[in-house]
């Protein structure tokens, strides 16, 4: 079975309107740049995007917002871009705000075949509304569910032809859990290496989770806040 695709355009051949897509990344760090561009080009719309953030006006998921391909964002922190705010206020865009740790764990649960789990985050707040509360050791916890998604768009540093992945720095963030969670997991890597060149002990995402992989190009890796000494 060949998992290697030529490029992002070919790898997303079966994305359809109204699909739910997980996108790795924290801010603009570790985002699947090539896959986002290909999705803009493909024009699929009505999308639900699960991603910690929503990009900036002219980069990341912001590009999909500009083309109005996104129906709903499921994120922990958004609004670093004006178009997002405009669409939200006008009602064109729906947003589900979820505590970041819960967002991460709901991805992890999906990737681990755990349909639901209890977490303390949000107890006593408005995000607890309509959620099941259970008490363990005299403390309240909320029941949270695994995410369902049609695709996971993942960015890794190195990957082999079988789909084993290694991330770099804090670009790892949500990528490994989403890689495991996606019904179909599509991965772009900065460097596609021959199978057998990565140390089995250093693999972050085992190949079993990866359906498609390709070597991305023209990485911009934009920096949101350049801070120097």
């Amino acid at each position: 079975m060949n998992k290697v695709f030529k490029n992002a355009d070919e790898a997303i051949f079966d994305v359809e309107n109204n699909n739910t897509i997980m996108l790795g990344g924290f801010g603009l760090c570790g985002i699947p740049e090539n896959l986002i561009s290909a999705l803009v080009k493909k024009g699929s719309n009505g999308l639900t995007c699960i991603s910690n953030n929503a990009g900036v006006d002219d980069f990341g998921i912001g590009l999909l917002l500009k083309t109005r391909q996104v129906k709903k964002m499921i994120s922990s922190y958004v609004g670093e871009n004006a178009e997002f705010e405009r669409q939200l206020l006008s009602g064109e865009l729906a947003v589900d705000l979820i505590p970041q740790g819960t967002l991460a764990e709901r991805c992890r649960a999906a990737g681990a075949g755990i349909p639901a789990f209890y977490t303390p985050a949000g107890v006593g707040t408005e995000i607890a509304e309509n959620k099941e509360v259970k008490i363990f050791n005299n403390q309240e916890y909320l029941l949270e569910y695994a995410f369902e998604s049609d695709f996971a768009f993942v960015k890794a540093w190195k990957g082999d032809h079988l789909g084993n992945l290694i991330y770099r720095g804090t670009a790892r963030n949500f990528n490994p859990m989403m890689a495991a969670a996606g019904k179909i997991t599509i991965v772009e890597v900065e460097e596609l290496v021959p199978t057998g060149t990565l140390d089995p002990n250093h693999i972050h995402t085992p190949s079993v989770y990866v359906d498609r992989i390709f070597e991305g190009k023209n990485y911009e890796k934009r920096i949101e806040k350049m801070t120097i000494q």
């Binding site: 924290f26 505590p99 740790g101 985050a121 408005e126 490994p176």
Partner: protein, 218 residues
Amino acid sequence: MALTKFEIAQRIAKELKNGYYVNLGIGIPTLISNYIPNDISVIMQSENGLLGMGPFPKKENVDADLINAGKETITTLDGSSLFDSAESFAMIRRGRVNLTVLGAMEVSQNGDISNWKIPGKMVKGMGGAMDLVASAKNIIVAMMHTNKQGESKLLSNCTLPITGIKCVKKVVTNLAVIDVVNSQFVLKERAPGVTTQEIVSATEGDLLVPEFVPEMNF
């Protein structure tokens, strides 16, 4: 004299102990790293996936793959470790992060905190704040004692949407150090030159004032 935000950070830095794992929120909390005593070593957690956050890089070492939770470019240190977001919040929920310092819009006398949403304004999201306040064993709030309208931010009940309940242990403001004990604020220290009466007036919630309230020292 009321403290500056730098002095608030400096006072909170005294709460750090050697070997502490610390998560610092955006704003005043971030400044704390400038005041860590030389004789102790603390390890900064950044919830996007890093333990052992180092200083900002030199220009030639900037790496787009190394940012903190505030999305600023940073560096690693000897002993740093990198991990995914699930692991990052696992260690937070597990209670392994010794101290969390956050800003707040309001704190109530039973330790509730509001810092993520103002009704009627664009809501950007809670980020990791709800997870942090729900799980950290030791939460210090760093904030001004009153808001821009001069109203107290230390309340009997929060008026803004809550981020977490019964979680704040200590509040350090420009006027005072205040502990939260048994659903009551307890005045522990005054800013230099600030009177107990000034603090009482600026505090809407129940404030227990011991007979002797020392001035802070740094």
